[in-house]
Subunit: 313 residues, 2 copies
């Protein structure tokens, strides 16, 4: 029942010793999703003991090289090692010609199916869905078409307390009603009815967990509402507060802007990354964020952030 | 007066923790040449304290991703940091469309001129030349168009021993003759002539140094003669001897084949790399090579091999 983020790279456009470019893996209940593919991503996966064969799908925020140039080597290796299952890549529409050109040159050794789902939305839209998980993509503000991703476990069905089934001899229909969160209403022989309140019979087994990835982006008003209440928020913080005008010019965010988004969203924790290579010591970036949002963590390459499952009842 | 090879990556197609893909820097008398660009090359340059700004030219052996996919990130970074000088890339003709496609998508931020010199030769040909250095490219045997490179310092002009200039009161014309390696012949008043042998007057100031890069290739008869007498030979050794048939099928070499090339060429030292990811311990590969050619060194990422300048006289 894992819900675990592994940060593979925390550099921005210029990688530095010890910091690779943007790439992350989110693992949810045994499914692994690769988010962005900075150069060296296949090595970083191995470094972090994550098999590339375990990657189910790939999410690309935008086509800038520091988020993409590791993909082609990874696809080549997946092909060489005969990946048996198809791969879906959620990426901006502008990624299409890049993928086609790559496959025209290097596709011979790639036998598995690659499907590109082009992202074009102007507001959050569901792009991936299973019984227990939903992923929404939403636009960011980065000068070129760029998307963030919100991974959210679905609300679980209610559980029915076993001893209440016995106590009331609940019928299958009544159990079904409780699972939907409804009270049980029984007709009594005297024509009256008896209501057994849902709260006595059922409970939500756990709190759904969520993660949002926001890189690269300048701040914009809608973002915090789009990631409202997220447990774990990754937001780029390329610059310290003093570089606000540089950040604005380059469609990036400062520490304060990232932390403000986390605060306004009511996030559980904020993870920052995508640091400008000018910052040798990232503790200052963390400090600045904490002045606005205490639960901020400045990620280093290889850091892992888990969202524990909170069971109810 | 350096002549120094820095091996940035020693993995073959699948990188592994601690081994990046093929990339090397040869530094000759202050000029730096990047040879192949496996993924992560810009990080590896930084790790090895080599400024990408110092790279004068790039030599690409072939377009397989493990020798090329680091180039595009490197070019992007060079563009972002406003490289002031043009860059020449010596690469197979098949590289042309790749470069053009890359520039059509990512060229906006790249203001410096990039010139692609397409390699098409069937036998060694000089592709680069300065007053003191010459680079020849030659075809390898790898299934797709692939080239090796031979970097060789030019034969220096002869020096004239200063005290001999005084002893014989050598004229400018006579000094010029000695510099060309000729004897000095003087007409005496009695009509006879006197010959002062070159060996007494002049000497070669140093022995020119050389380096050859041969990756990827299956063995073929001409190769050892093309790199005859090279001081430092890099030859891929993807496999141990027991995998000879695999090596053949994939157009690669075994340890024994690499070492045989070094022996037949009369090389000074052999450096091997491009190891299959199946080999966790490369000492076996070195041992196998040494059974044929004692002066073999199995490179690890970051290893440096210098060819010292041997001064004469």
């Amino acid at each position: 029942m894992d819900f675990k983020l592994t940060v593979l790279g925390t550099a921005s456009a210029k990688p530095v010793t010890g910091r690779f470019q943007s790439a992350q893996v989110l693992s949810v209940r045994g499914r692994s999703f690769l988010i962005d593919c900075g150069e060296g991503v296949q090595t970083r996966l191995e470094d972090c003991h994550i098999s590339h064969a375990s990657i189910e799908s790939i999410f690309i925020s935008h086509i800038h090289g520091d988020h993409l140039f590791g993909l082609f080597g990874l696809l080549s290796t997946m092909g060489m090692l005969a990946r048996p299952k198809p791969l879906c890549i959620y990426a901006p529409a502008s990624f299409g010609p890049l993928l086609r050109f790559f496959l025209s040159y290097y596709g011979e050794g790639i036998a598995f199916e690659i499907r590109h789902v082009p992202l074009t939305m102007k507001a959050p839209e569901t792009v991936y869905e299973t019984k227990s998980l939903e992923v929404k993509a939403f636009p960011l503000n980065h000068g070129i078409e760029t998307f963030g991703f919100l991974f959210r476990e679905k609300e679980p069905q209610f559980n029915v307390r076993k001893w209440k089934i016995e106590e009331y001899s609940l019928s299958l229909a009544e159990i079904g009603a409780v699972k939907k969160g409804e009270d049980v209403v029984r007709q009594l022989p005297d024509g009256s009815s008896k209501r057994i309140p849902f709260e006595e019979l059922g409970y939500k087994p756990f709190v759904p967990r969520s993660y949002a990835y926001c890189s690269d982006t300048a701040p914009f008003p809608e973002l915090s509402s789009w990631v409202k209440g997220v447990d774990l928020l990754y937001h780029e913080a390329t610059y310290t507060a003093e570089y606000e005008s540089t950040a604005l010019a380059r469609h990036h965010s400062t520490t304060i802007q990232a932390a403000s988004c986390a605060r306004d969203a009511g996030a559980g924790r904020l993870v920052i990354g995508h640091y400008s290579s000018r910052f040798k010591d990232i503790s200052l970036l963390q400090e600045e964020c904490r002045s606005v949002f205490q639960e901020t963590y400045a990620a280093d390459d290889g850091d892992v952030f888990s969202v524990p499952l909170v069971k109810l009842d």
